[in-house]
Amino acid sequence: MDNKTLALLALLLPFIGFLINGLGFRRLPKPLVGLVAVAMPLASFIITLILFGKFQSGGSKSMTFIYANWIAIHDITISFSLLIDQLSLIMLSFVTGVGTLIHVYSAGYMGEDEGYGKFMAYLNLFMFSMLALIMGSNYMIMFIGWEGVGLCSFLLIGFWNKNRPYNAAAQKAFVMNRIGDLGLILGVFLIFIFFGTSEYKDIEAFVGAETNPYKVGAWQVVTITILLFVGAMGKSAQVPLYTWLPDAMAGPTPVSALIHAATMVTAGIYMVVRSNFLYSLAPATLDIVLVIALITALLAASIGIFQNDIKKVLAYSTVSQLGYMFMALGVASYTSGMFHVITHAFFKALLFLGAGSVIHALHHEQDIRNMGGLRKYMPITFITFLVATLAISGIPPFAGFFSKDEILMHLYQKSPVLWVLGVAGSAMTSFYMFRLFFLTFLGEFRGTEEQRHHLHESPISITLPLMILAVLSIGGGLIGIPEVFAKDANWLAKFTAPLFTTSQKLNPQLFNHAHLSHSTEYILMGVSVVVAIGSIIFAYIKFVANRTVPKPETEQQGIGKVLANKYYVDELYNTVFVKPILAFSRFLGESFEVFVDLIVEGFGQIVKGLGNAFRKLQTGSIGVYLFAIVIGAVIWIAFNLFIYK
């Protein structure tokens, strides 16, 4: 099979899986459902590997496959076409890889749910959308995937649809995503207007050419990139559009792992990296990205400290980590952003799956205050969770250390202040992550007797993915070993370098940093590791040694209260946007419509009024009628007399 068919297959197989399970989910036997659902992403993963091999052997040239025209009118042509290059391959590999693992996990996790087949079908549909997002060769195909993953997110968050609050969360996610999508599509419109196409490669060629009218800082490009970034804000949960992500934890845990941690939420980063040639042309946008990312990272991290719901903590940590990734992009360090995306996918998926395992064991108990001491009961979960926690906290040699460190280093290159803030966030991260870890796995069990009675390690289909992901969380960093440790060992940077050649050509000084000496780098690394370890120790003292159990969110005081209530952002949005719109809707629907209706009703009333008035003229008296004749005649004659002398 040639590459074109392979690429299409990689994309379509999950969709076929979706169709099979979706159309037959009530009739197919459960094992078959699981088999189909797992086999499809697995096949995609294998095809990805094949493609990877072919790509490498074929001289690493990017490949565009056009299958058909989608929308074609004379000045706008959009085709169904896929692009295979370094970026899509990397994304593909970990999306299909992690995706397969999570499918396996889900087969175990959701096995008893009555909507099992439906769930697996949705997951497959999500895989398809995500692949379309990654593989599309133009912004419109990406947009298909972009909206598709939003839909799947909606469907999966509200998977237990009997529960109205879950539905509300699903709707919130979809709507917030749509707000971002609107920005994105407006950006795409501008791309159409300025470049006449939406194909990445064509645009890249356009801006890379000598004739390119848009120089660095061109307002057109700045506008485009800002609009695109709005899309990224929605999808990747950046301030101010991040509030849906914590609520999205209403969905089943594998969903949180797959969609709301590992893959979908990183679409924004993918999109920015994909458009790097545009972003490099717009340093102003990059600064905006940086600021927003920084705010997001710190805000989410600080909120995470006071959350008691295991998934909520992880959710805020996701938001915060996404902030880190965008920070990397903000300083034009696209590779390190991607790097963190990958490592984050590993360890965050692991964390969520571990959390899922815990929740599974505790029968849907999610409050960490009611956990504790699970180490004895669930050893595999415990160990893998510890690995992931260490990874996210940036403790060497776990994967997170390498990627996060690279980002911090680039921040330092930009400005030491940024680095300080980054490290502060990192400290918070390790604190709340270990707070979570300690409260869950160490100490005494604080749940009910019944729960304790049922505690058990999860089955193999759940623990296997945990173990694989744990391995990846440990070793994942190897793809991007920094220069300091080994010369030319940063495979990722080397591999992705061709993606950024245009950017570097267009705006060289964006990439021209003062070179850091090795000693500085060591110091920076050391400090961040020390800070992380420090906060771990602090957490240990507080939650293990002192056996503190956090207060419920509602009883927090002072700053804690603000943080526990997530800075009241939801309330703020409610007051500023939701409630006024609802009130306005009621006003329009109930009062203003009546007013508008006056155009018609008023006319009717006038007609009726006049009709009544004229009716009164018809008095029934002959005398009056005769008068009318005479006076009418007199007026008419007099009128003509005046006009015609």
């Binding site: 009164k616 018809q618 029934g620 008296s621 002959i622 005398g623 005769l626 008068f627 005479v630």
Partner: protein
């Protein structure tokens, strides 16, 4: 040729006829007795006759007089019908007051 047309201008006849006509109109408008109103209509018709005959005489054209003849005939027919209607109404309402004929209105 009648002597009068050399002495009296045609305009005098027109004015006379107009005055009579307007008196007839005033009568129609002021009175409430159906019969009187009808009589005033006859007065108007007579003014018209007057006018026709004057024109006929001053122009030396007999056609105008023929028209008057027709007007008289029609007037007679109208009177017959009109009086029949008045009588019919009187039978039912014992009144010739048109002021009472306002049951059909609006």
């Amino acid at each position: 040729m009648p002597e009068i047309i050399t002495k009296i201008p045609l305009e005098y006849y027109i004015i006379l006829a107009s005055i009579l006509f307007c008196i007839g109109v005033i009568g129609v408008l002021t009175r409430k007795n159906a019969l009187i109103i009808f009589m005033c209509v006859e007065l108007m018709l007579n003014a018209v006759n007057m006018l026709f005959i004057a024109f006929s005489a001053y122009k030396g054209d007999a056609a105008g007089q023929v028209f008057v003849f027709f007007i008289m005939a029609v007037a007679a027919a109208e009177v017959a019908v009109g009086l029949a209607i008045i009588v019919m109404i009187y039978r039912n309402t014992r009144s010739v007051d048109i002021g009472q004929l306002n049951k059909i209105k609006y």
